[in-house]
């Protein structure tokens, strides 16, 4: 997060200040890519690039605080994933909303130990993403939006078109299941 200087940084980026845009991009890109690695592992980098193109296109008109900014960024990314899924008729993207029984872990890209290797050298982060991807899609996406994107429950609810209560349920179930997965794997602290 950029924090209290976000408004100044945003304003500068909207007035063609490259350093300000660099600050926005470097703050948002890692979280964006990690989120996309979970919900669209095969095309995460491409969709991230498309997302930033759309962000730049609408940057001058954007109004809002940092929470709005992040919500906008991840909303664009999610829509790109869904649009791409519709275009390519690929199950992973479409399944986000329509096939909750399909776990991301069942996707071919996530069956490999290097599933999260598309953009990460950090082994801990890669492993963390891989274990999150073992959760049911809704739970995995909610946890990524809350933990990595830094969005609150209400914002995630709007982004996903669900009620805040449904988001809390998904998050807490995801936590329970995640704790179970880690316990089964013998990961204890």
């Amino acid at each position: 997060m950029i924090g209290k200087d976000f408004a100044a940084v945003l304003a500068a980026a909207q007035h063609r200040d490259e350093a300000a845009f660099a600050a926005l991009w470097h703050d948002g890109q890692p979280a964006l890519l990690r989120y996309l690695t979970v919900i669209a592992p095969d095309t995460a980098e491409d969709i991230a690039a498309e997302t930033w193109t759309q962000v730049v296109r609408g940057l001058a008109k954007f109004r809002g605080d940092e929470q709005h900014w992040r919500a906008w960024l991840f909303t664009i990314a999610r829509r790109r994933v869904i649009d791409q899924g519709r275009r390519q008729m690929r199950r992973p993207s479409i399944s986000l909303d329509t096939q909750p029984e399909l776990t991301l872990a069942e996707l071919p890209a996530l069956q490999s130990p290097d599933a999260a290797d598309v953009a990460l050298e950090n082994l801990d982060t890669r492993a963390a993403i891989a274990v999150i991807a073992q959760l049911p899609p809704m739970q995995a996406e909610v946890i990524m939006l809350r933990v990595v994107a830094g969005l609150d429950t209400e914002t995630v609810a709007q982004l996903l078109g669900r009620s805040p209560g449904a988001i809390r349920v998904a998050a807490h179930r995801g936590l329970h299941r995640l704790a179970g997965l880690l316990a089964e794997a013998g990961v204890t602290r």
């Binding site: 950029i2 100044a8 490259e18 703050d27 809350r146 609150d152 809390r168 329970h176 179970g180 089964e184």
Partner: protein, 269 residues
């Protein structure tokens, strides 16, 4: 904030690792990142560790798309995609506010090499947070606690004093000074170079003085060349750990982090 009770019935065989379920507050604190792993309940420590890894600082490979993003930004905002070629295409291109200040301070040659605010970052002109982010992303000097600030005169006027030439920005100043010299001496008389000349002991001593200055990346083994280093300490999530030791212009006060919102701002691109 309460958890529905039907969750257990839907996962009757799932092996929960705890016998007494943590309260919703503890779970929400984990999700929001407001508690450290060591502060988490024992049964959630492993989950907290996973979340910590999810929020880890940016990986080098996660920011390889920056060059393309910058080209897109330049293309869509009317800035030259590559500074070197831009002068042939747009000899009268508009400069950004930061770029304008820099051109006045360090000469247009610097802008040609390190366009706009990027060059400002190297000379330490950016607001505190922005400078710190630039430090982590493009190997610009870090925010300095003893950074020079405008000093009021007895009549209340404020004179710019430029970055301190004895601080880590000296490398950038040296580069800018050298390039300004290649394009005429006039720019070398700017405020930004005054301290550099003073620190060197005179204008004729600047070259020798700068020859002793190492690139900031050489002083830090983890740093690489400008434009290549990535945000190694810029956590993607919420670790708002950037030093805030400089007053920075903030046109409007931002809302609280988790204050809700419509999720889309008010933009309509």
């Amino acid at each position: 904030m309460t958890e529905p009770t039907d969750s257990d019935s839907e996962m009757p065989t799932f092996p929960f690792p705890w016998t007494t379920r943590p309260d919703a507050g503890a779970l929400d604190a984990l999700l929001a990142g407001t508690c450290q792993p060591e502060e988490a309940p024992a049964e959630l420590r492993a989950v907290a560790e996973v979340f910590g890894a999810l929020r880890a600082p940016a990986d080098r490979r996660e920011v390889v798309g920056w060059d393309q993003a910058l080209i897109t930004y330049r293309g869509m905002t009317g800035l030259p995609e590559t500074p070197g070629r831009s002068h042939r295409r747009r000899p009268r291109r508009r400069a950004t506010p930061l770029g304008t200040k820099l051109a006045a301070a360090a000469g247009v040659a610097v802008v040609a090499v390190l366009s706009g605010g990027v060059a400002a970052a190297y000379t330490g002109h950016l607001p505190g947070t922005l400078q710190n982010i630039a430090h982590h992303t493009i190997a610009a000097p870090a925010v300095r606690a003893n950074r020079a600030v405008p000093t009021p005169t007895p009549n209340g006027a404020v004179h710019p004093v430029g970055p301190s030439a004895t601080a880590s920005a000296v490398y950038g100043l040296c580069r800018a000074y050298q390039r300004a010299g290649e394009h005429g001496k006039a720019a070398q008389h700017s405020v930004a170079f005054h301290n550099l000349v003073t620190a060197a002991g005179g204008a004729d001593q600047v070259a020798a003085y700068c020859a002793k200055i190492e690139h900031p990346g050489q002083a830090n083994p983890s740093a690489s060349a400008p434009g290549r280093r990535v945000g190694q300490s810029g956590a993607p999530g919420h670790s708002n750990h950037h030093p805030q030791n400089q007053p920075t212009p903030t046109p409007t006060k931002t809302k609280k982090q988790h204050g809700g919102g419509n999720g889309h701002g008010n933009q309509s691109p």
